[in-house]
């Protein structure tokens, strides 16, 4: 039995490495994608969900909630992807000789890292809700944190005068 698990582990590793190489090539041309935070907020609105729950039969509600979760996951994935790009783009700024630029870049990176962790948690919670639609585990912390990240990135962009396109505007 364990032999089978070990062989499966090794084969999974080979698949994982292949995917990592493929994703790395994709990442090289990855760009920031804007996030409609208001629409995202609406999707997370519990009152809206309660209203739909009261008005619709259970089967329709379950179908609709799962659809909402799928859309929410796409938003979370987009936020996570943007945070990852910000992490990467801020790495050079962190090494800037100007202390203010370096310190702001560090703050931005820390916030982006926090968002990544929150996104992981959010996707985990959303997966649970997808499996059990009666659960209510909305990751409400994500919106304000993402908003703070955007403000910090804008500050970093202002400090770096050579920045032609401020990163904050893109996210």
């Amino acid at each position: 039995m364990i032999t089978v698990i070990v062989i499966a582990l090794a084969l999974c590793a080979v698949v994982l490495f292949y995917m990592a190489v493929r994703n790395r090539r994709k990442q090289a041309v990855q760009s920031l994608r804007p996030v409609d935070l208001a629409a995202f907020h609406t999707l997370l609105d519990r009152d809206d969900e309660l209203f739909i729950k009261e008005k619709l039969p259970r089967s329709k509600f379950v179908r609709l909630k799962r659809h909402r979760i799928r859309v929410t996951v796409r938003y979370v994935a987009r936020i996570a992807s943007n945070a990852s790009t910000v992490l990467h783009e801020s790495e050079n700024a962190r090494l800037s000789p100007t202390p203010e630029v370096a310190s702001t870049a560090e703050q931005v990176m820390e916030l982006a890292a926090q968002i990544r962790v929150q996104c992981m948690l959010a996707i985990f919670k959303l997966s649970l809700e997808y499996a059990m639609p009666s659960l209510q585990l909305t990751p409400a912390m994500l919106v304000p944190t993402y908003q703070t990240l955007r403000e910090n990135v804008r500050r970093l962009g202002d400090l770096q005068t050579q920045n032609a396109i401020p990163l904050a505007n893109a996210i």
Binding site: A13, F17, L32, L87, R116, V117, A168
Partner: protein, 245 residues
Amino acid sequence: MPLGSLIHDLWVAGFALQVLLAGVLLAKRAWRKYPLFTAYIFFNLFETAAALSVYRMHAYFYTFWICEAIGIFLGLAVVREIFTNIFAPHPALRKLAILVFRVAVVALVLLACGAIYEQSVSAKTIARVVMVATDGTRIVELGLIMFLFLSSSAFGLHWRQNEFGIALGLGTCAAVELINVTLMTHLSPAAGQIFSVVRSFSFNFSLLIWLGYLLFPERATSSGELPKKAQLEQWNQAVTELINR
């Protein structure tokens, strides 16, 4: 071509690739940033030279397995080195990553113990016992490399070209080695030669991966797809209005 001479040719090719890789590491002064990986490569070079010099002698068995044991521990140290390098600029993630890393180590050690226990029943010769032990340590090594890839992907971290190449080469080699060692303990010793060929191929392939990633420069992230400033400002304004309504 007889299998024995194919193994020998692969060894010689591997030795040449290792000399080339060692030269590249020296030229790029890689020991400053990757001291353990440099040590690992130079140790492998020494291992190949030592094994070639005592090939077909009684001392070969001991030389091979002693070097193999040291090589595995150096491989684990390289994994730790990459882990430290990847998470060094991210203090916010490091704590969580270390915690998950420790859990992964415990889980992998348990799996390795299970594998060793299951196979120890059939291990009646010293060679089999050594192979079973190698199997266990390879499980830990490969599992940790997988953890590196999974965690960096989950945290959205960007791998530098060299680190990615080091991990990829090490992982590919460890995966083939694990399949090799696991199956070898279940099959007849006659199958050993075929496994030696596979092993040499995978090691040479890893050497090519390391050479490739060290020699070719990193592709810059394309900023050409970033939207125009005016367009971005419009989007941002619309989103802000919607948020603040």
